[in-house]
């Protein structure tokens, strides 16, 4: 409110034509410290009750304003955080899915090439029993696949535990399957931890898709191995 408007309100007040609401507004405007002497007289006339009420309304209005600002800030922060989370999860999913496909495709290709590269050796081993030859090929290609799927090694103090808990005479194929399943499960667990309850249904769909994809890949690996 400008000084001119306040003066007009004071004139109306002195004429006795102001409403109680206008007088409340006037009291609110006269709460300022830097007012002329004449206005101080009007403030005195309005009385302690009116001035106290104006101050009460003023404090309440300021609190509401602050609360609105805080709420707005919170909303922006929440929106930004959600956006970052979605982008993060999306990027992780995209990267993981692409990485899985590429890795497995490479594996399948390598498995094939191994077969070809092993050809001279097989020729040399013509005299050896067929079963022995097949076993040798399988072991070699398994070594390559194992190289590709090698998980980051745990710290040494964990190593002993891991080695003792795993059965020593585990089938090689089973080990690969387990490794793939374990990787997928860990990925699922990590992402689940990041997800909010509201996003879990969407996430479950994506996870199922990835799991199915992983299973298809595992099947392809198995088929490639069986072909050998």
């Amino acid at each position: 409110m400008t000084d001119k408007e306040i003066q007009q309100l004071i004139d109306s007040y002195l004429k006795g034509t102001t409403s109680p609401e206008e007088e409340r507004l006037l009291a609110h405007e006269l709460l300022r410290h830097d007012i002329p002497e004449e206005w101080k007289a009007v403030r005195l006339m309005l009385g302690e009750l009116a001035m106290g009420e104006a101050e009460y309304d003023n404090i309440m209005a300021n609190r509401k304003k602050k609360a609105t600002v805080i709420t707005l800030h919170r909303r922006w922060i929440a929106a930004a955080a959600s956006l970052l989370l979605i982008i993060g999860i999306g990027a992780t999913l995209w990267w993981t899915a692409n990485d899985n496909v590429t890795t497995v495709e490479t594996l399948v290709a390598q498995a094939g090439s191994v077969k070809v590269s092993q050809q001279p050796k097989i020729e040399e081993m013509k005299k050896e029993p067929v079963e022995m030859k097949k076993k040798a090929e399988t072991v070699d290609s398994m070594k390559i696949i194992k190289e590709q799927y090698r998980m980051p090694r745990p710290p040494k103090h964990y190593l002993a535990q891991v080695e003792t808990t795993e059965p020593e005479l585990m089938d090689e194929e089973e080990q690969i399957e387990r490794a793939v399943a374990e990787e997928l499960r860990q990925m699922e667990m990590e992402m689940m931890a990041q997800m909010k309850a509201s996003m879990q249904s969407d996430f479950m769909e994506i996870t199922n898709e990835i799991r199915q994809r992983g299973e298809r890949v595992t099947q392809r690996v198995e088929m490639a191995l069986n072909d050998e």
């Binding site: 002195l14 109680p20 409340r24 004449e38 101080k40 309005l46 009460y56 309304d57 404090i59």
Partner: protein, 169 residues
């Protein structure tokens, strides 16, 4: 209003004042303290209150004033603690000089009001203390609204000119 009349509506007034205080303070204890203080003030002046008027409206105004006073006291305590810890105070503390000035102006206002005719003073106070509109005053007193506006205007002008004169001295 007699003390027994006040006691009859005390519960209703208290509930309304507590609502005002609870809106203002987060702490229920503070709200209860303020309500108690406001009830005490109304009790002290109840014999000067016209029971036929808007007592509830007056109670709300008194409660709001008590809230602000309590709030100021809390802020002053915070200031005192800040000063003790040599921190910058969040608000300026009212100095004893300011307090004396406030008391002087209040005394001056009482003296000026005494210059008004009884009817003028009554209408002036109805607007000032109870915050009634011209129409509400007309309904309660039976005086036509135009006459009320003229009398209130006359009373206000008298008070204003007298205050101006005294403030210049």
């Amino acid at each position: 209003m007699t003390r027994s009349e006040f006691e009859n509506i005390a519960q209703q007034l208290r509930a309304q004042m507590l609502k005002v205080a609870l809106d203002f303070f987060d702490s229920k204890d503070d709200a209860e303290d303020v309500t108690q203080d406001a009830m005490l003030q109304l009790w002290r002046y109840c014999e000067q209150i016209d029971g036929s008027r808007n007592v509830l409206g007056l109670a709300v105004r008194v409660a709001k004033n008590c809230c602000v006073s309590h709030y100021r006291r809390q802020r002053q305590e915070t200031n005192y603690k800040s000063q003790t810890l040599k921190l910058k105070p969040p608000i300026e503390i009212e100095s004893p000089k300011d307090q004396l000035e406030a008391e002087d102006t209040q005394r001056m206002m009482t003296e000026v009001m005494a210059l008004l005719k009884p009817r003028e003073r009554e209408l002036f106070e109805m607007r000032r203390v109870e915050g009634l509109s011209t129409k509400q005053i007309s309904e309660q007193t039976g005086i036509p609204t135009k006459s009320i506006s003229a009398m209130v205007s006359g009373a206000r002008m008298k008070v204003f000119l007298e205050l101006k004169k005294r403030m210049k001295q």
